[in-house]
């Protein structure tokens, strides 16, 4: 079945450093989203980016559909960015979102 792989599994940064999160998927994605989960919290959609480059605030996502990969860049990380970031994809007209296992980001002062 469709699979989504994220790397790294965890990332520790000092405040102010940039973060680069990667997502690779096994089949053509018609929808690609990045979600954020605060520890013990629910998921919040960050960016919907099925192709190309999208920006919001300090976040930039680049998706190269034919290479089946997407990245999320967080610039000037802050302590409040700590949490888990999930990549999720849909493919082929399905209503199902397939999630990766997440990247746990820890930002310290």
């Amino acid at each position: 079945g469709q699979q989504v792989q994220q790397s790294p599994a965890s990332l520790v940064l000092q405040e102010g450093e940039n973060a680069e999160l990667q997502c690779n998927f096994s089949s053509t994605a018609t929808q690609l989203q990045w979600f954020y989960q605060r520890p013990g919290g629910s998921l919040v959609s960050l960016l919907y980016n099925p192709s190309g480059t999208k920006h919001t605030g300090r976040l930039t996502s680049t998706t190269v559909t034919k290479e089946r990969r997407s990245s999320l860049h967080i610039s000037s990380s802050q302590i409040t960015d700590s949490g888990t970031y999930f990549c999720a994809m849909k493919g082929g007209g399905s209503a199902k979102l397939i999630f990766g296992e997440g990247t746990k980001l820890t930002v310290s002062s």
């Binding site: 919290g41 629910s42 209503a95 199902k96 296992e101």
Partner: protein
């Protein structure tokens, strides 16, 4: 902002007992989803629905049933709960097409 609520927020159940998790959304979204989240597994789709009266099996449907009696409500039913079903359960809704999913706050279920 889309609103998805879940009840109960926490539940302790006994093995073999029946558990019903409820989800309500107030944004008239067509699609609703139930996921479980376990450490090391991310989110896994249990059941989903395209609208009132419809339910579809997700990737891990065994041991679970779903019910969508109305546009707003989507329930997940564990007829015979087992300890392996101890997890955090999330409900989500979406309007279909290229849009985002809105997640509820989650339900922590402990099956003893």
């Amino acid at each position: 902002e889309a609103a998805v609520t879940q009840s109960p927020r926490n539940k302790v159940a006994v093995t073999g007992g029946k558990v019903t998790l409820s989800c309500n959304q107030t944004n008239n979204h067509n699609n609703m989803y139930w996921y479980r989240q376990d450490t090391g597994h991310g989110l896994r789709l249990i059941h989903y629905s395209y609208g009132a009266g419809s339910t579809e099996k997700g990737d891990i449907p065994d041991g679970y049933k779903a019910s969508r009696p109305s546009q707003e409500n989507f329930s997940l039913i564990l007829e015979l709960a087992t300890p392996s079903q101890t997890s955090v359960y999330f409900c989500a809704s979406a309007d279909g097409g290229p849009d985002t999913q809105y997640f509820g706050p989650g339900t922590r279920l402990l099956v003893l």
